[in-house]
């Protein structure tokens, strides 16, 4: 756990980089500090491991006042990853990863085992260990940077735009891998970025900072999008705030509507009735296993005795419970029916997600 208590940082030239910051990074969570340049997010991060000393207030790390621990000792318990990576150019990848273990005096065998394990964890192949940093690609260097930070298994990690220096495709990949890793490792992480989308993706909670080191809002991504406290936060969250909200809500969070569902061998009158009851001019057609075959309009049914006499129109896309409501919306606008049909992983019908469901959820 990292706790900021009324932390203020005033530099010698009078610039205020942190203005009475009070917030907490709960154990095992990833908290993102996000804001425009000049908002002091990096300063806040660097006060945690005392690369910068606060002017006023107190920062405690796992219950202990950071100022009471000698800085080098404090830092060895805190993993640190920066955008420019900062690998040591004159050391091999193995020696780079082994930095903190060697500082705290692990023996060779334990260190080597740990290096081998970490190289694997961050998705590199063992043959890189004897290379030097400049022989690696930017993405590989960034992975080594993460491995180095994790080496002595610190409970706390500080990450300053850790994926900022690589191209967007590699960045998305590294973000996904890191999130997967974090689900296992449950480190307490303070993460800095200027990119609100990255903040939304990575953060369990987000602290939005304004110029002058003012904390505008501290909330979960969902709460932030649902209830931004002021215009600054609204502006910072950017356009398409509702779409971003939908992207954070899983389909499983809303109750699907039953929808007009008929079986292929039902009489056509049954389908007409189902459509009428649902207030639609179409019905969904399923087989005996409740697998969706397609849909038919009430016009298609004219003059037919059973549903399967009319050819059902197939669907291109369905949604499943683990997808987001934003994905459901995407399916919805593509479908001629204006709804998203929800199925389980075996393709069995679960209901429909409608426009009303989405607007209800956004209220």
């Amino acid at each position: 756990m990292i706790t900021f208590e009324s932390v203020t940082k005033r530099f010698a030239d009078g610039t205020v980089a942190a203005d009475d910051l009070t917030f907490e990074v709960p154990e095992g969570e990833l908290v993102v500090l996000v804001g425009p340049s000049g908002c002091g997010k990096t300063t806040a991060l660097r006060m945690v491991n005392r690369m910068i000393e606060p002017t006023e207030g107190r920062i405690s790390v796992n219950g202990q006042d950071a100022a009471s621990v000698p800085a080098p000792a404090l830092r060895r318990d805190i993993g640190y990853v920066i955008q420019q990576v900062g690998l040591f150019p004159h050391l091999t990848i193995a020696d780079n990863v082994a930095t903190v273990p060697s500082l705290i005096g692990w023996d060779k065998e334990r260190t080597n085992e740990r290096v081998e394990e970490l190289i694997e964890t961050v998705g590199l192949s063992q043959e890189v260990v004897d290379r030097y940093p400049r022989q690696l690609s930017g993405g590989q260097q960034q992975r080594v940077g993460v491995a180095r930070a994790l080496a002595a298994d610190p409970p706390i990690m500080l990450m300053d735009e850790p994926f900022g220096a690589v191209d967007p495709i590699v960045r998305a990949l590294l973000q996904d891998e890191f999130l997967r890793l974090q689900r296992e490792l449950k480190k307490t992480i303070l993460f800095v970025t200027h990119d609100i989308d990255e903040a939304m993706k990575m953060g369990d909670r987000i602290a939005i900072l304004n110029i002058g080191g003012v904390l505008e809002q501290y909330a979960t991504p969902t709460d932030l999008l649902a209830a931004p406290v002021n215009d600054f936060v609204v502006d910072f969250l950017g356009a398409e705030r509702n779409l971003k909200r939908l992207a954070l809500i899983p389909v499983s969070a809303v109750e699907p509507e039953p929808g007009p569902l008929v079986s292929a061998n039902d009489p056509s009158g049954r389908a007409q009735e189902a459509a009428r009851e649902s207030g639609t001019d179409w019905a969904l057609v399923s087989d005996a296993e409740k697998r969706i075959e397609g849909w038919i309009s009430t016009d298609d049914l004219d003059g037919r005795r059973t549903v399967d006499e009319a050819e059902a129109h197939p669907f291109d896309h369905f949604v499943t419970r683990d997808e987001s409501l934003r994905a459901a919306l995407d399916v919805m606008v593509e479908s001629p029916l204006g709804v998203a049909v929800r199925v389980d992983t075996d393709g069995r019908y679960e209901g429909v997600v409608t426009h009303n469901t989405l607007t209800g959820e956004l209220k």
């Binding site: 690369m51 830092r75 640190y80 990576v85 900062g86």
Partner: protein, 216 residues
């Protein structure tokens, strides 16, 4: 009687003396460069630790460097006579500017993000200097040593005028006797010495910086 331009028999007759002068030349190079580095190194560390010291230290080293060589040797004679010290002290002082500047610039040239990472990993200041910053400064420091060494090899010859001089004595001999052979021998050997020392130091640098070599 006409002399041939180059007299091999002189070389053969004086081989022992030629070797001795070469050895002397090497001693008069290695000691000043070594002492100079021993002085410049702590001065450089102090300049990094207390940046305000750097300008004055560099200024003093620069003034020393700008004093004409011969003048400095002559100034020394009342104190140290015609001893080796009369040669070694000025030669040492001449190396300071280059060695101090290159050591400081080498250390300053360590990328900021590398320094930041080292600090954040929990290196103590001293350990960071010796494990991270100095190794990375090696190419620039060795570049300074190479220039200082080649310069010193050239200056040693001048100390022949105050009774030292190594290969410089061969120049004097050739000049005073209007006899080109020793002059040529001295010249060739001193150029070879400079080139060898330069390449040798480059080799040392390559050994110390495996990380700079191209991937095999």
């Amino acid at each position: 009687m006409t002399q041939s331009f180059f007299d091999w028999s002189w070389v053969v007759d004086n081989l022992g003396d030629i070797w001795a002068q070469l050895a002397e030349h090497i001693v008069l190079t290695v000691i000043p460069v070594g002492l100079g580095f021993l002085m410049a190194f702590p001065m450089a560390l102090a300049s990094i630790r207390w940046p305000r010291l750097y300008s004055p230290l560099l200024g003093v080293a620069g003034i020393l460097f700008s004093i004409p060589t011969l003048a400095l040797f002559v100034v020394m004679i009342p104190f140290t006579g015609l001893s080796k010290a009369t040669a070694i002290i000025p030669l040492t002082l001449y190396t300071l500017l280059i060695l101090l500047r290159n050591t400081v610039e080498g250390l300053k040239g360590v990328p900021a993000q590398v320094r930041e990472a080292a600090e954040a990993m929990g290196y103590t200041r001293t350990r960071q200097l010796f494990r991270i910053e100095l190794p990375l400064a090696v190419p620039v420091i060795v570049a300074g040593l190479r220039i200082a060494t080649v310069n010193t090899i050239a200056y040693v010859a001048i100390t022949a005028l105050i009774g030292q001089g190594g290969l410089g004595n061969l120049f004097m001999d050739g000049f005073l006797r209007q006899f080109p052979t020793p002059l040529i021998v001295g010249l060739v050997l001193s150029v070879m010495l400079a080139v060898t020392a330069d390449l040798g130091l480059l080799g040392v640098q390559r050994v110390l910086t495996p990380w700079q070599r191209d991937p095999g």
